[in-house]
Every structure is written in structure tokens, then in C-alpha cells.
């Protein structure tokens, strides 16, 4: 198949003409810089190190409010973050409501960065936001290309992916 890196990791999540923008760590960082009210969503696939550490560093470097899904709360709490725990469908449901005031009560978020949610339920959540949350952008930095996101890393090998994440967490 043509350019496997930008065929959705699970190829059949392709949903229509709209495709995600392919991003590098650099463009991802630009998006975060530009965002006024970013939110970082961490799922169960990054509970263990080294991923847990990469994720934590990114959260710290960019000073991102963090939501954990499934049972990802504990490992990140223990890592020193102060996340809020939601089910992935719960947080997506809140994010698509323009009236919701965000995890910190200061207003709805304008950028949501996903990392570590189970691919297909994550994809469904991204589809929900694509359709019903025009007020925010979605960015995925999983090792999988997510066509339902506004912007996504391509499909990556572990080594590449780790590099990408490391880069995004590097201070200075």
C-alpha cells in the first residue's frame, strides 16, 4: 500500500475525505506553543517506562494539565503529576461541550493532545471531536497514525517514536 506511514494504523478507521495532518515533533511543539488552553490526555498504553517518563517530561516541559484515562491515573500520580482521572468517553464528552470550563475550571480547551489510549476507542473519540468540537484541535503523538485527529504522528517504529517523544520532552 502507498505510503504506509500515513495509512491509519488500523487502516479501516479511514472515514472520509478529511485526513489528519502529518506532524513531526517540531510541528507538534508549534501547535502546543500556539495553544492557549491545551490539555494532555494520557491513556493506559503509556503506563510503563520509558513511555511513562517521556509523557511526564512532556507534561512538565509544557506545563500541561493532564487527564488520565482508564487506570493510567496511578502511575502518573506516582510519577509526580497531578492528573484528573476520566474515562476516555467521559473526557471526550466534556470536551465537545463548548460550555464546559475545562479541567481547571478556567474555560474549554483549544488543543487536546492524546497519547496512549487504545487505538480504536481513541479513534472513535477523535472522530467525535472532529464532528462535534469545532472549537478545539486534536493532536495525537501515539506511535500510530490517527486519521480522525486534526494532526498526528505517522506510524512509527518504537525507536523512532521514543526519539520523537524524547525530543518533545527535552528542556532547553
Amino acid at each position: 500500500m502507498a505510503n504506509e506511514r500515513v495509512i491509519p494504523w488500523q487502516p479501516t478507521v479511514i472515514a472520509g475525505p478529511k485526513q489528519a495532518l502529518l506532524v513531526t515533533p517540531e510541528t507538534a511543539e508549534l501547535m502546543i506553543k500556539k495553544a492557549k488552553r491545551p490539555l494532555f490526555i494520557l491513556g493506559p498504553l503509556v503506563k510503563e517506562d520509558p513511555l511513562r517518563t517521556y509523557a511526564t517530561k512532556i507534561a512538565e516541559k509544557w506545563n500541561l494539565p493532564v487527564v488520565t484515562t482508564a487506570d493510567a491515573y496511578k502511575p502518573f500520580y506516582e510519577k509526580g503529576l497531578n492528573p484528573t482521572a476520566y474515562g476516555v468517553v467521559e473526557i471526550v464528552n466534556l470536551l465537545k461541550d463548548p460550555e464546559w470550563q475545562g479541567v481547571d475550571g478556567k474555560g474549554q480547551h483549544d488543543l487536546v493532545i492524546f497519547l496512549g489510549c487504545i487505538y480504536y476507542i481513541g479513534s472513535q473519540g477523535l472522530s467525535s471531536l472532529k464532528h462535534y468540537a469545532p472549537h478545539l484541535k486534536t493532536l495525537t503523538i501515539c506511535k500510530f497514525f490517527h486519521s480522525n485527529a486534526d494532526a498526528s504522528f505517522p506510524n512509527l517504529k518504537d525507536e523512532e517514536w521514543f526519539k520523537y517523544l524524547e525530543k518533545m520532552g527535552e528542556v532547553g
Binding site: 472520509g16 487506570d71 471526550v92 487504545i118 472513535q124 464532528h131
Partner: protein
């Protein structure tokens, strides 16, 4: 044939009521005319509520109450609509050529799915009832024995009368089929533009599905003399290891008991019951073993391809629903004979129904025909046994799979493209398993085989650029493991007894029994079947009542504890705290909503007939029941879940459930959504998010367990009951999240609700959030609120 009374033109205002309601009364009258006087009396006695035989729109106001509290959450699976030739239309932030928007389209697809599911059960029930009336006559009575007086609670509530015989069941199906036709019509392009109205129709479809399932299961219970609510129904052997493949093996796949029960009958009549193995996959297995406990259960849906590839079966009988559509091709590769038995699944096979059995047998054996379509269950029994007997010795079963060294050779051809893993619904490491097998290490395949972590959908094999027979390789590696797969399952016992309801009604409504957990549905599990057994165990040990059906009931039985005991051996089959109750097959799910309805009727003395809204309102606010459909995959599962939702019972589905496109989620941050009316005082007051969601998709098991415990909380819990429920909720939350639930204050009405063990920690939270004690409603209700 539905009969309607001439309406006096003088009273147009009550037209709609007249239209849908006099009809039914007229029907009863007409029946009375046909029936004996005794019946007439019973008719007179039952007061009929406001909505007997509700039409599509008659319960709409109840639906809107549910939907304003539990708003639909949509996750489109596709941005486009492809249903008409103006399309495809892209609905991403756009309306289609018919004007439809994305929300309405999702709701429409959900309605379509529910309708297909309802049709599956209605068609199944109709087939059974047709056949049984044909065999036994329409007056054959519905006798569930002495322990069940309130039989058919769903029929009573919806239709407005108690079914007395098979003819009454057929009449109920007429109503279901008419409603279904209206509901399917609403899926046509154009017309409905409101997602909420599509949801209301989906909820109606779900309740029609409930009815169809109740009819189907009642029909087979009373006529085939299946267990009638026996808590100590026999244990049935389950697992590939329990099947003696040296005997001729007949495998039944699907949901319709008739072909399989006729196989058992024929074996008994011909005295060959010891010489054959009759086994089943999916609900057919459960129902055949309810009919005759010598039948064996291979396991859930997830076993299908693996087991067919193993070649153990000499004859495969398929009936309907959840059967691999390529079963013929797969069976032919193993020289297994195939018999199709219903109009739902004809597989292009010649119709042999009117042929002489021995002619069919020889045509099958001589491969004159690819397989046979036999619509006469009796004939299926005879033909399948005769074919298996002759075919079995001819087939060298053990040589049907590649040898392990061949598996290794095949593995060596892998190009490591990785697509097997990418197309796996659960992204399981198939490629890694193959790579390891290349070096003679089969542990990767073993991990995939055990607990159906790989449920053998076969997509990896379809994708493989080397066309490696991955499922056969898996089946081969699993062969020796399979021998050890000796489990059991308690035969499906059908409805819950009235006496059981009397016993648990109070403790359930007051909260002393923390809840009823219904483990139901299919085997599209995110990580194998073991999680289902673990969830069952968790709640059993916490004194919940655990009921199970279908694939869920099987997965529970596939788990062995340290002493090699299954949960069915460790826990009683009584509908009581710490009881593990296998209700039966998927159609038996009707008895779960049925049990909740019976609580309202027996314990709370609510009349059932034509009284849907009051009953559902009671269940939603008082009965701490929650379903878990961890592997829900089908349109039937969509209909079942939507049906129980309308009765006020929440459901947790697995992560694949998000692909149904719609959930019903509550918003605890919106206080106004939870207002209720205390029917005792008539006062509108603040309520609790209890239950918080109506249908919820969890990302993994840990999340599901915690959410399920939370969804058992109800506004009517006594302080003691609430303490028990919160204790479990906190306990589980702490285990999986490492802290107290941050929303605990929402469920503490006053200090009495705080579990002693966590008093200190909880109080801290309460102070943090500035908690104030709340008034407790005596009869919390959504009735008499907006929309009425």
C-alpha cells in the same frame, strides 16, 4: 389480525388515545369471545395501565426524560452516508443531500442496528412459535411450574395481558412485527431529522427486542421442558478437551435449538446417545444443553474458526445468527459435511427438505451436493447422525492440521510486514508469534490461543502477503492446550423464581445486596475471555448477585481456580447474594429485565399491565442492576442494551462498544440534570447521578469494574445500603486508581452514608469540596417532571 372499534366521530380530541388503545381492549374482548369464561374473569380482574401495546410514539415522553438526563454521545464510524443514490454525502460539519446532519445520521444507524437485532430475535421467536404450534397446537399452555407465577413480565407490561398459550405468543409477535416495520420505515432516507426522535425509536425497538426474546425463550422452555428457574440446574461439560474426537462429532453453531434438539432426540430414539458427541458453539450450545445436558459446549463465538479448522467436527449444523458466513468453504477444506437449517442462512445450498433422508445422506457423502439445506429439524437430526457415523471413520482427523515442524517452516516465510498485527481488531502480536515460531518457539501462538486472546476472526490471514494459514497454525499450536480445556457451565435455568424475588427484593431495593451484575453478550473482547471471569469473581466475592447469559456465561465457565474448579462449581445458581446464575442463551436476557420488573411488581406491588413508564421509572430509581457486555459486537447486542436502557438499567460495554457510535452519558457537572420528583411529597428536589450513565464504554477491565460498582448506586439506598455500595466503590477505586474517588461527595447524602472503614478520608474530601448534607427522597421519580 388487528381489529379496531369504530370511533365515534364526536370525540376527535381523544383521537390518538382511541386510535391506539381501544384497539387493544377490543382485542381482549375478541379473545374472550373465542376463549372460555374462566379467561374472561381474569381479564376483568387486571386493571390496564395507560400504554398497552404502545405504538412508536406512545412512550416518547419517557424516552425524552431519559435522553435529557443521559444525552446521546456520538462517535461516527464513518463521516459519510451511503444509503441513497444522491450520495455518498460527506456529513462532516455538513448536511447531506436529504438535509440530514451527522448526529441524526448516527442515531439513524443505531436505530437501523437495533432493528436488525430485534428482527433477528423476532424471526427466531416466530420460527420457534410457528414450529411448536405446528407440533403441539396453538392452545398448548405456558406452564412454568409452581415457582413462577408472574411469568412473562415483559409481555404483561407491554402487551397488557398474561400470555396463556402459544397462540398468545404468536399474537405478541404480530405486534412486535408491526412495530418493527414502522421502526424500519423510519430509517428511510428523508423523514426524521431529530437525533432524539431516532433515539426514542431505537429505545422502542429495544423493548420490542425484549418482547421477542421473552416470547422465544418462553416458547422453548415450556415446550422443550428446559429448566424452569432451577437454581441447581445441572453442570454441563464445556471445552474442547471434553470432546472425545474418536467418536462421530456433530457440531451445532448458531442460536436455534430445534436442529440440535432433534439430533439429541434421534440419538436417544435410536439408542446411540453414547456413541456420538454432540456439541455446540454460541447460544445453540447453551440451548441444546438446556434441553439435554449430555450435549457439550465447545465455547463462545470466539472458538468458531479455530475449532472448525481443527477438523474435530464430522458434521456442522448451522442455523442462524453469529455463524461464520464462510463456514461452508472452511468445512469443505476439512471434509466436514455442512447442513443449513433455516431461511436465514441457506448458503446457496440445494433445498433437500422434501427429499428422503437416506437420499440426502448419500448425496452428501458422495459429494454430489456441497451441503444440504434442510428446513425440517427432525430430518436434520436423522441426516446429520447418519452422515457423521459414516464420515467419521473416513476422515483422518488428526492429520487435518499442519505438523508443528510445518508450522515452523511456514513461519519462516514471514516477511515481517506487520500487517497481520495492524489488521487485528485488538492489534495482538501475531507477527511476533510467527517470528518466534520460526525459531521453534511457539509461546507467542500459545499466548494468543489461551483464553481466546485471539478470537480467530481470521483478518490477519486474509491480509498476509505470504498467505500463511495463520489460523491453522494457531489451531495446531493450540491442539495440545485444547486437550486440557475441560470446563463446565451450569445449564441455563431460565427465569428467576417469584420466591427468589420475594427474598431479595427488599435487600436489593434498600441496598443491602449491593447489586445485580448481568454479564451478557458476545466475545469481541479486547484481551481475551479471562477478564470476564475475573469480573464475575470480583462481584461474587463482594456479595453481588451475578447473572449471566450467552457467550458471557461461557467465558465465566472457562476459568479455573487454584483447585481447578470453575466459578459455577464454587458458587450456587440461586438468584441471591453470591449467586452465579446462568440464565441461558442470549434470548434468555429477557429474564434479566424480567427479574427487575418482577421486583417492582412483587416487592413494590406495582401493577404491570400497560404500565411501562411507572415500572421503568421504578427500576431506574430503585433497582441497583447493571449489565456488562464486555464483548458486545452484534446488532442484537445493540438492541438488547438499548432495550434494557429503556427499562432504566445501565450497561457497561467494552472498548469495541464505542463502535456502536452512540452511548448515553450523564453529566455530573450539570446539577439540574439530576433533579427528581419525590412522589411521596410531590416536591421537585436535587437528586444524585445514580445511575450516572445509561450506556458506557470502558477502555479496559479495571475501568469497567470500578464504573460497574458505581452504576449500582440508587437514590433509594438506605444509609446502610449506601455504605455497602460506597464501600465497594471506594475499595475498587483505590485498588485501581490508588486514591479515593474524587466524586465520592456526590453520593454521600448525609453522614450515615459514609462507610466506616473510609470515614476519615471521605470526610476530608467532603470538607475540601464544601459538602452539605442533602434531603433523601422517599419515592424518587422522573415522572411528573418536564415533558409530562
Amino acid at each position: 389480525m388487528i381489529v379496531v372499534a369504530p370511533k365515534p366521530k364526536s370525540e376527535p380530541k381523544k383521537f390518538k388515545d382511541e386510535f391506539w388503545k381501544t384497539k387493544d381492549i377490543k382485542i381482549s374482548i375478541r379473545d374472550i369471545v373465542e376463549k372460555d369464561g374462566e379467561r374472561e374473569v381474569s381479564e376483568e380482574e387486571t386493571p390496564i395501565g395507560p400504554t398497552p401495546k404502545p405504538h412508536v410514539t406512545d412512550l416518547r415522553s419517557w424516552d425524552m426524560k431519559l435522553l435529557s438526563r443521559y444525552e446521546p454521545f456520538y462517535a461516527p464510524f464513518c463521516d459519510m452516508c451511503c444509503l441513497c443514490t444522491f450520495g455518498k454525502c460527506d456529513l462532516l460539519n455538513k448536511k447531506g443531500a436529504c438535509g440530514i446532519n451527522s448526529e441524526a445520521q448516527q442515531a439513524r444507524i443505531v436505530l437501523l442496528a437495533c432493528n436488525i437485532g430485534t428482527a433477528a430475535h423476532a424471526g427466531h421467536a416466530r420460527h420457534l412459535v410457528h414450529h411448536l404450534i405446528d407440533e403441539l397446537g396453538e392452545d398448548y399452555p405456558l406452564d412454568l411450574g409452581l415457582n413462577i407465577d408472574i411469568e412473562a413480565p415483559i409481555t404483561r407490561t407491554i402487551i397488557g395481558k398474561k400470555p396463556e398459550n402459544l397462540a398468545d405468543l404468536a399474537e405478541t409477535l404480530n405486534y412486535v412485527e408491526e412495530q418493527l416495520s414502522h421502526l424500519l420505515s423510519a430509517c428511510h432516507t428523508g423523514q426524521e431529522g431529530s437525533s432524539l426522535d431516532f433515539e426514542s425509536k431505537a429505545l422502542h425497538s429495544g423493548v420490542m427486542d425484549d418482547l421477542a426474546r421473552e416470547v422465544g425463550d418462553l416458547a422453548q422452555i415450556v415446550t422443550l421442558n428446559m429448566p424452569k428457574g432451577d437454581g441447581d440446574a445441572p453442570l454441563v461439560e464445556m471445552g474442547v478437551g471434553t470432546i472425545d474426537s474418536t467418536k462421530p462429532v456433530v457440531l451445532c453453531i448458531g442460536h436455534n435449538v430445534l436442529p440440535g434438539s432433534n439430533v439429541m432426540d434421534y440419538l436417544d430414539e435410536t439408542g446411540q446417545e453414547e456413541d456420538f458427541e454432540v456439541c455446540g458453539i454460541c447460544c445453540a450450545a447453551i440451548d441444546i444443553s438446556r434441553y439435554n445436558d449430555r450435549a457439550k459446549v465447545v465455547g463462545p463465538l470466539s472458538r468458531q474458526l479455530k475449532f472448525i479448522r481443527s477438523g474435530v467436527a464430522d458434521v456442522i449444523i448451522v442455523d442462524e445468527q453469529c455463524v461464520r458466513t464462510d463456514v461452508l468453504e472452511e468445512a469443505q477444506n476439512k471434509n466436514t459435511a455442512v447442513i443449513a437449517t433455516t431461511d436465514k442462512m441457506c448458503l446457496g445450498l440445494p433445498d433437500m427438505t422434501d427429499e428422503d433422508p437416506d437420499v440426502i445422506v448419500s448425496k452428501l457423502l458422495n459429494k454430489e451436493i456441497e451441503g444440504a439445506l434442510i428446513l425440517d429439524p427432525e430430518k436434520v437430526g436423522e441426516v446429520s447422525v447418519k452422515v457423521a457415523k459414516i464420515l467419521s471413520p473416513e476422515r483422518e482427523k488428526l492429520k487435518l492440521l499442519p505438523e508443528l515442524d510445518e508450522v515452523q517452516k511456514m513461519a519462516a516465510e514471514c516477511t515481517e510486514c506487520g500487517w497481520c498485527t495492524r489488521v487485528c481488531p485488538n492489534s495482538k502480536p501475531m507477527m511476533e508469534a510467527v517470528i518466534a515460531a520460526r525459531d521453534g518457539d511457539f509461546s507467542g501462538f500459545e499466548k494468543l490461543y489461551l483464553n481466546d486472546v485471539c478470537y480467530s476472526c481470521g483478518r490477519c490471514e486474509q491480509e498476509c502477503e505470504r498467505e500463511l494459514p495463520l489460523m491453522s497454525m494457531l489451531a495446531k499450536v493450540g491442539e495440545k492446550l485444547a486437550k486440557t480445556e475441560k470446563f463446565n457451565i451450569r445449564a441455563g435455568r431460565g427465569p428467576v423464581q417469584d420466591v427468589e424475588i420475594r427474598r431479595v427484593g427488599a435487600p436489593l431495593v434498600l441496598g443491602d445486596i449491593p447489586g445485580v451484575i448481568a454479564i451478557v453478550g458476545c466475545s469481541n473482547y479486547p484481551d481475551g475471555g479471562k477478564e470476564v471471569a475475573e469480573m464475575a469473581k470480583e462481584f461474587l466475592e463482594r456479595n453481588y448477585i451475578v447473572v449471566a447469559t450467552g457467550c458471557g456465561a461461557m467465558s465465566i465457565g472457562e476459568y479455573l481456580d487454584e483447585e481447578g474448579k470453575t466459578l459455577y462449581e464454587q458458587y450456587t445458581g440461586d438468584f441471591d447474594a453470591r449467586g452465579l446464575v446462568n440464565i441461558g442463551s442470549c434470548v434468555s436476557n429477557a429474564h434479566i429485565s424480567g427479574a427487575c420488573i418482577k421486583i417492582a411488581n412483587i416487592f413494590a406491588k406495582k401493577p404491570l399491565e400497560g404500565n411501562f413508564e411507572e415500572i421503568a421509572d421504578y427500576i431506574l430509581n430503585r433497582v441497583g442492576a447493571c449489565g456488562i457486555a464486555w464483548g458486545a459486537y452484534s446488532q442484537k447486542a445493540a438492541a438488547i442494551a438499548t432495550g434494557v436502557n429503556r427499562w432504566g438499567i445501565p450497561v457497561v460495554v467494552g472498548p469495541h462498544g464505542s463502535k456502536y457510535r452512540r452511548l448515553y452519558l450523564g453529566r455530573t457537572d450539570k446539577k439540574e440534570n439530576w433533579k427528581i420528583k419525590d412522589l411521596r411529597t410531590g416536591k421537585i428536589m436535587d437528586g444524585e447521578p445514580a445511575p450516572e450513565h445509561l450506556i458506557y464504554a470502558a477502555e479496559n477491565m479495571e475501568e469497567a469494574i470500578v464504573m460497574t460498582a458505581k452504576l449500582c448506586i440508587r437514590p433509594t439506598d438506605t444509609g446502610k445500603g449506601r455504605q455497602i455500595k460506597l464501600n465497594h466503590y471506594i475499595d475498587l477505586y483505590k485498588r485501581y486508581y490508588g486514591r479515593l474517588p474524587p466524586d465520592i461527595h456526590l453520593f454521600v447524602r448525609n453522614e450515615k452514608d459514609i462507610p466506616i472503614t473510609y470515614k476519615k478520608d471521605v470526610k476530608e474530601i467532603l470538607e475540601e469540596v464544601g459538602w452539605e448534607p442533602r434531603e433523601i427522597p422517599q419515592e424518587p421519580s422522573l415522572m411528573g417532571m418536564d415533558g409530562d
